[in-house]
Amino acid sequence: MKIAVCVKQVPDAEARLRIRGDGAWIEEEGVTFVLNETDTYAVEEALQIAERTGGEVIAFCLGPERAREAVRKVLALGAARAVFLSEPALLGGDALATGRALAAAIRAEGVDLVLTGSASTDLGFAATGSVIAGELGWPHAWLVVGVELAEDRKSVRVTREMESGMNESSRIALPAVLQVQGGINQPRYASLKGIMAAKRKEIRDVAAGDLGIDPSRLGRAGSRLETVSVALPVSGREVEWIEGDAAAVAAALVTKLEQEAKVLR
């Protein structure tokens, strides 16, 4: 099977964030960027299905030039080649504009299955994969924690996470888009051999003009959402900080547990 996997590069979860001068986003200088967490599971799932079916994985990424590093990582993990959309006219879009562009690039490759992560950890729209499905006219499933390919490869049995610890199983016809939740598999690490091999793999740059879409429907211009500013959340109640070395903190906590929470016997 020919499988597309869509990935995004996002700030590391542990990164210290500073708000940019204009207040509209974070200062990217000094921030470590990584492959979006659920995307790593999507990549692993794509590789496993390709390995079982004797197919190949093509990575798709829409993002600024820095994201080329994330694309290289997916190639090092085992994707055969990549398609990269980094032209500024394609950036800054909402999920609808971004999904539109990715779907056009995927359509040009003619794949049997598209995998994405369930949500990005930066904007968190949790929507790009289903928008891609809509553009392609395919079914989709969000929050997938299990994938079982039918023998005839015409459908897939999908387990989806629901609220309150329940899972739903369903059957979906292929081709389809599956938005993968964390924990579905154990993502592999890139081997040295894989990293070396990735250097020779093709990353094809696709420009906005190649997509056959009205430019006013792409990127920031095609977006219905506009971020005015970002700020630290306003807290409902002020946290009381406990400071000092580990022993002092421990002593203070024991007092809280004993006298306020009253949970020590």
Partner: protein, 328 residues
């Protein structure tokens, strides 16, 4: 006067749930803010009860969409039922609860209607006469103020708890049955069944004290001191999603939107950053003590006491202090 505000109200087994009432409360508040009226829509199979509940709320109307093919949720069924209705009614905003079900189909509904999509809103306010929405970004570390541009309705999903359900204004609303043309529609999914995700049966909801660990634990082999602390406190051990996904603790110990919802007297959050998916599962706790290296971690926004530090230093020290007290 701008277009109406619609609330698409999620129901379960024909009854409204808290999430549905929250959606109505939000629609009423937004309609007041914009000087327009609010309408509720409920869809499913056997939802007359939910319709009558909505009829007792201050709304300009209630639309009930009944169809046997809407019994089990499918994206194809919901799209085919909602898209023509919204297209014909042309509301300014359509509000939904940001549930797993909504997230599954809302992007496709927005796409089909060429509508705007604003997921996971926490609230709105008028700034210089313009409506601005707040939504979390970067794992909740920051909140973004966003505005919508362009023509056509905007579909907004609202984070759980953003608009309290008890703010719903009572009233009397006319109920209208709406026919849905679903025969022959591709449901896009054949639902086979629903089962429990976890194999075990650990019940965290009865625990008085819970020690929750997050990504900051750094590995399964580092759990020893935390398990010792759990034993010393007579507590239950719980985990946030990344810990379970990494296989460090079993899924039956997961707290959060896809795990258990707990409200112990004390919740000790160790190395948990506090993504909203985790917070919704434990924010009802009596006292929250959070230990995290990052002072800007969202967990500190709901914590009673906060320690900025390394849990691998704080936990052994706490264990020692508890042992000394017990020996004391």
């Amino acid at each position: 006067m701008s277009g109406q505000i619609w609330a698409v109200v999620q129901q379960k087994d024909g009854r409204l749930q808290r999430a549905g009432r929250e959606t109505v409360a939000a629609a009423q508040a937004l309609a007041r803010e914009l000087g327009t009226t609010a309408v509720a829509v409920v869809l499913g199979d056997g939802v007359a009860g939910a319709g009558s509940e909505l009829a007792g709320m201050a709304l300009a109307g209630v639309r009930v969409v009944e169809h046997s093919r809407l019994g089990a949720y499918t994206p194809g069924g919901y799209l085919a039922a909602l898209a023509p209705l919204i297209r014909a009614g042309a509301p300014a905003y359509v509000l939904f609860a940001h549930t797993y079900q909504t997230v599954d189909y809302l992007p496709r509904l927005a796409q089909e209607l060429d509508a705007g999509l604003l997921p996971e809103a926490l609230g709105f306010q008028k700034v210089d006469g313009e409506l601005r929405w707040t939504r979390p970004v970067l794992g909740g570390k920051l909140h973004a103020q966003v505005r919508t541009v362009g023509e056509g309705p905007v579909l907004v999903s609202l984070q759980s708890g953003a608009f309290p359900a008890d703010a719903v204004q009572a009233g009397s609303a006319p109920v209208e049955q709406v026919a849905a043309a679903l025969d022959g529609v591709d449901l896009q999914r054949e639902v086979l069944g629903i089962e429990s995700a976890a194999e075990g049966t650990v019940d965290l909801t009865k625990a008085e004290v819970i020690v929750g660990v997050g990504r900051g634990i750094g590995g399964q082999e580092k759990l020893g001191p935390v398990e010792e602390l759990t034993r010393l406190l007579g507590a239950e051990l719980a985990a946030s999603r990344p810990v379970v996904d990494s296989g460090w603790l079993p899924r039956e110990r997961q707290v959060g939107s896809s795990g258990q919802t707990v409200a112990p007297k004390l919740y000790l959050a160790l190395g948990i950053s506090g993504a909203i998916q985790h917070l919704v599962g434990m924010k009802g706790s009596g006292m929250v003590i959070a230990v995290n290296k990052d002072a800007s971690a969202p967990i500190f926004k709901i914590a009673t006491y906060g320690v900025v530090g390394d849990l691998h230093e704080v936990v052994p020290a706490l264990n020692q202090a508890l042992q000394q007290r017990a020996a004391g």
